[in-house]
């Protein structure tokens, strides 16, 4: 009998009181268009293509992002400049398919493709959700300020010969017998 009263009345009363006290707790709601929420720097939002500290495009059109993308929404075509740098001739992200998973950023060897805290990308026309390279490419370095792929990679480009990259050993002279 006592248990019955405890279960049916007392525990309900305790719950009621607990919920009633919430009346004096500040609401968690962020009234979005009026109040902007704080977006964390790691937020996975609108995708950008960044440039290296020298102001050149970072993307080397390796296609790794396109392969990593689980929904196949990245399309690009490789092209090459005269001085040996690779770059994407076009680079297209279909944001109506992108799920903002960030796999492309993880896959990218050059830190070119990056996700940003911006999420306000609604459009009225579906075709406007497809972003081209002009829309994606920014003038800055994004999240990684010092990284410059061609300065650490072994690839030879104009102004940087083999063996001149950061921490790179001289190329082995295959014709020499000396150790």
């Amino acid at each position: 009998m006592f248990r019955l009263i405890k279960d049916t009345l007392l525990s309900q009363a305790v719950t009621l009181w607990g919920v009633f006290r919430k009346l004096f707790v500040k609401a968690d709601t962020v009234q979005y268009p009026d109040e902007q929420p704080y977006m964390f720097p790691r937020w996975r939002g609108r995708i950008i293509l960044s440039r290296d500290p020298d102001g050149e495009e970072r993307c080397v059109a390796c296609n790794l992002c396109a392969v990593a993308c689980p929904v196949d929404c990245i399309a690009l075509q490789k092209a090459e400049t005269e001085d040996g740098r690779w770059y994407p001739e076009f680079f297209r992200i279909n944001f109506s398919r992108c799920i903002m998973c960030g796999f492309c950023e993880e896959a990218c060897p050059t830190n070119a493709i990056q996700l940003t805290p911006d999420f306000e990308m609604a459009e009225y026309v579906r075709q406007d959700m497809v972003w081209e390279k002009e829309d994606l490419l920014i003038d800055g370095v994004g999240k990684y300020h010092d990284y410059n792929f061609y300065r650490v990679a072994g690839k030879q480009v104009a102004g940087k010969d083999k063996g001149e990259a950061l921490n790179e050993a001289e190329p082995v002279d295959v014709r020499s017998l000396l150790p």
């Binding site: 719950t15 919920v19 919430k22 009346l23 609401a27 968690d28 709601t29 009234q31």
Partner: protein, 323 residues
Amino acid sequence: MFTFAVGSALSIASILLAVIVLAALLIWVERRMLSFWQERLGPNRVGWFGIMQVVADMIKIFTKEDWVPPFADRLTFVLAPAIIMIVVLMSFAVIPFTPEVGVIDSNVGVLFVLAMASLGAYSVMLGGLSSNNKYALLGSLRAAAQMVSYEVFMGISLLGVVVLAGSFNLREIVETQADGWYIVPQFIGFLIFLIAGVAESHRLPFDIPEAEQEICAGYHTEYSGMKFGMFFVGEYLGLVLISSLITVLFFGGWLGPAFLPPIVWFSLKAGFFIMFFILMRAALPRPRYDQLMSYGWLFLLPLSLLNLLVTGAVVLVSTTATM
């Protein structure tokens, strides 16, 4: 004719208007209060503090297509939502709001309210039955069983008050509370009436006939537009009705210190219970169906009978002692 008196046209019109406006407003009040209790803000965009949300909802619900499913039984389907509105509004006829405001002064007020509550069950039953939908049928089955069984304790729990007041007339019941509200001698009766009232108006936590998580929307699964709106407003009207009844039966109706007019006292008390019902919705989980039934028949019924027995014995002893 145009003065406030029991049964005058002005009185009737203002009660009708006030009750319906209040029921519509409650939709907003409930959403707001629920969200405060859940640490949210709720609808606060339209108008001052979002109060015009009611108007927006009304516009939406009135302009919706009035649709009857082809497989439904047309006549009953259309009739069912009207029944609940009519029945609940009829019950307000016997509620004494203040000494002057009221529709009729019935000798059988308590019985009339109970009778109307029983008729309300038809609305839900017919609505579910005519929808020709499995969920709706399940909902109306549950509603029928729940309302029929909880009506029993509702009636019995009231009888304690009736015994004390010596009258079925709600107005006289209020007047006899001048020297003490019935909440004190009839506390158990009050608790049972409260629980039965929640079950009768099938509000949460006893909203088993329309439990969204289990059976879609129960008996009104097939309803949309204004017909759904009638069920919806009918439910809020029921909420107002139960709160007013509790006020009248156990909390002395309009009685209160003279610095506030009677209607204010009545509204304050009824408003308190409306808020309490909303709080219950915010806080309490829904019991299982069989739990509800066994709780009612095995616990509430004996308790209410015991309450009636003891009240009757006490009244008998005290009246014979004074004679």
